[in-house]
């Protein structure tokens, strides 16, 4: 963030990585709250992106997301992160119900040459705000999660990334024949994040 304050509309790789990883943190919190993965009482309201956002107060979840975002920003700064997926699955059977897919396109020139780009903070915030609103409103069309669920986060990285000690390789945890809803995107001019939620359709809908 500090490096981004050099000039208002100049955005550096580091700043962009910070914005994107912070976005993941808030988006994950919002999904966990809105999809009822953790009890309502374990969330506290804060103001962010011009919206009231809910952040978990559960220490375990908090540290998980903090560890996640710090690792993500490291990869984002290296331009090695291709995608982040938040998976919601059944606690009992591990069946995957929802995949919140954030694909990331990184401007390789910025990573390689260390140049900066121009985009105002305000504009990025407005784009993120639109995504956050969509996440909050997603409960209107997503099927009810009527059994206890857990979540996991998958990071799709380049293969030349050394796997950190705390991470393991995972399968994609895909849903067969999912319904997909594309949400808004945001672009820092360095990282472009496309949001998409795919979910298991209710069987009775057929």
């Amino acid at each position: 963030m500090a490096s981004r304050t050099v000039a208002k509309d100049i955005i550096t790789l580091k700043g962009s990585a910070a914005i994107v990883s912070e976005f993941f943190g808030y988006a994950a919190n919002s999904i966990l709250y809105n999809r009822g993965i953790y009890p309502e009482e374990s969330f506290a309201k804060v103001k962010k992106y011009g919206l009231p956002m809910l952040l978990t107060q559960d220490d375990g979840v908090k540290s998980f997301i903090a560890n996640l975002t710090s690792q993500l920003s490291e990869w984002l700064e290296a331009g090695k992160l291709q995608r982040v997926v938040l998976v919601i699955m059944s606690k009992a059977t591990s069946e995957v119900f929802e995949r919140w897919n954030f694909s990331i396109e990184t401007d390789s020139e910025v990573v390689e040459k260390g140049v900066s780009r121009e985009k105002s903070d305000k504009e990025i915030m407005r784009e993120i705000q639109a995504i956050m609103r969509q996440i909050a409103s997603s409960i209107t069309y997503l099927p009810c999660l009527d059994e206890p669920c857990v979540f996991d986060v998958l990071a799709y990285t380049d293969t030349d990334v050394a796997v950190p000690f705390t991470w393991v390789e995972s399968d994609a945890k895909l849903i067969t024949n999912p319904q997909m809803v594309k949400l808004h995107s945001f672009d820092t001019k360095i990282h472009k994040v496309d949001t998409l939620v795919s979910y298991k359709t209710d069987e009775w809908e057929e």
């Binding site: 009890p39 009482e41 559960d58 998980f64 997301i65 995608r83 206890p148 990071a155 390789e169």
Partner: protein
């Protein structure tokens, strides 16, 4: 001249290429190439055809054919070449995306949501779904699955004329004859018809091995039969001086209850077969049941008394408990298969109650007025359910949930009191014989497929009891 032929061919080719857009870029250069090679040599003089009259000589059929067929070939070629393109694209995608992508996840998973108030509701959800999963609401047919005629059945509350053996053969006494009905193939056979001076038959009981039947007679005699050889093995006499209406097996001990109010334990292996005599009743003994462990015997009589006799007690002929709570004859007795020391007993027309006893402490646990004579009681081998059969007014079978004693089902069909009930070896089907001279089969305790594993557990039940006691 060159220009003319060129313009005409280029017109035709352009119209063709227009109709075949994707090939445009491939066709045109070739066309130009042909233009230079072929027309110059072959058609130098045919330059000015009337543009309204088709001039076949000025039309370049070779060219047209070339364009048509070559174009088609080209189309096919692209179709042929597309797999390789596809493969290339795939390879490209792989090198760009797949091979360069690694899916990673945290080793330490986020905490599972089990804290807070939500916990209760989530656990509720889990437990209810588990209950739903493990105990789907079963359908209880309201009508009999099968009805057989039972002519000349003696309509006497104090007798016990129906038993279903472990060999899956049902024995029923009709008048002076004992019939066997093989439940596996539905075949009927006659075991014995006793002569007039001994008959009618007042009780039948299968030995636990399913290979011997005890037949109690009106004349106080008890006969042992081998149904496979259709041979009488033994006659037990001298134990009673009036009809034997109640029989109960406990391994090699056959307990007989008589109208003379006596209860005898007969060791069928030895010559002097009466090993114990329980004296307590003052009137006819009509209900006799050994507990699953074989330790306790419950006996009910026309004197409205219910006795519990304990084999392990040193004073073997002294009762363990004497219950006076019933206000009518006690015939219906059933030991609970899932809870040792729990006995259900049903009273006659003047009592109409099902009572539950802890035979260890002698406490009456519950009493339910059923509204009509209780003729027979059976516990489900799989569920915590009790089936009772009744007399006037409904002549119904009632299925109760235990211990809540909520009525689950009432099965109607019999037109007279349902005197006797017997349970199939798998515990699913119940046979009931009534004063209306019918034998009906009810699929009341679930389907055989469902209860197969449960039958196993039920069969281990008695052994579990033995382990507890010894």
């Amino acid at each position: 001249m060159d220009a003319g032929s060129f313009s005409s061919t280029s017109l035709s080719s352009s119209s063709k290429t227009l109709s075949r857009r994707p090939l445009q870029e491939h066709v045109l250069p070739r066309h130009h190439h042909q233009e230079h090679v072929l027309p110059r040599h072959h058609h130098p003089s045919r330059q000015h055809g009337d543009r309204f009259i088709p001039d076949r000589s000025s039309m370049d059929f070779d060219m047209a054919r070339y364009l048509l067929t070559e174009g088609r070939k080209e189309k096919e070629n692209t179709a042929v070449s597309s797999p390789s393109k596809e493969a290339y694209r795939k390879q490209l995608a792989e090198t760009l995306m797949m091979n360069r992508t690694r899916i990673l996840a945290f080793k330490s998973k986020p905490p599972t949501p089990v804290e807070g108030v939500f916990q209760e509701s989530s656990i509720d959800n889990v437990s209810t779904t588990q209950i739903r999963a493990s105990k789907p609401r079963r359908y209880i047919p309201q009508s009999a699955e099968r009805t057989l005629d039972a002519p000349e059945i003696v309509d006497d509350y104090y007798l016990n004329l129906l038993d279903w053996g472990s060999s899956n053969v049902l024995a029923i006494a009709l008048g002076s004859t004992v019939y066997l009905w093989d439940a596996s193939d539905g075949s009927t056979s006659e075991l014995v018809t006793v002569d007039e001076e001994n008959g009618p038959v007042t009780s039948v009981s299968w030995a636990p091995d399913g290979r011997h039947i005890a037949v109690g007679l009106n004349s106080s005699i008890v006969q042992l039969w081998d149904p496979t050889a259709n041979r009488k093995l033994r006659t037990l006499q001298g134990g009673h001086n009036s009809r034997v209406g109640a029989l109960a097996w406990n391994n090699h001990i056959l307990t007989t209850g008589g109208m003379d109010s006596l209860i005898n334990n007969n060791d069928v292996r030895i010559r002097s077969h009466i090993v114990e005599t329980y004296r307590g009743h003052q009137q006819e003994v009509c209900g006799l049941k050994w507990s699953g462990s074989g330790q306790q015997l419950a006996s009910g009589g026309n004197d409205n008394l219910l006795y519990i006799w304990d084999r392990s007690a040193n004073t073997q002929t002294q009762w363990l408990h004497r219950f006076e709570d019933h206000t009518a004859a006690v015939k219906a007795l059933a030991w609970c298969p899932f809870q040792s020391n729990l006995l259900a007993s049903g009273g006659g027309a003047g009592d109409r109650c099902i009572k539950f006893w802890n035979t260890h402490t002698g406490a009456c646990l519950n009493s339910v007025d059923t509204g009509s004579q209780v003729c027979s009681l059976l516990w489900s081998k799989t569920e915590r359910e009790l089936l009772s059969s009744h007399g006037f007014t409904q002549n119904q079978l009632t299925l109760w949930k235990y211990p809540s004693m909520v009525k689950i089902a009432e099965l109607n069909g019999h037109t007279s009191r349902v005197l006797f009930m017997a349970q199939s070896p798998d515990g699913c089907t119940v046979a009931s014989a009534a004063g209306d001279e019918t034998l009906r089969f009810w699929n009341v305790f679930g389907t055989p497929e469902v209860s197969k594993p449960a039958t196993k557990t039920a069969s281990t039940g008695p052994f579990a009891n033995i382990n507890h006691i010894r």
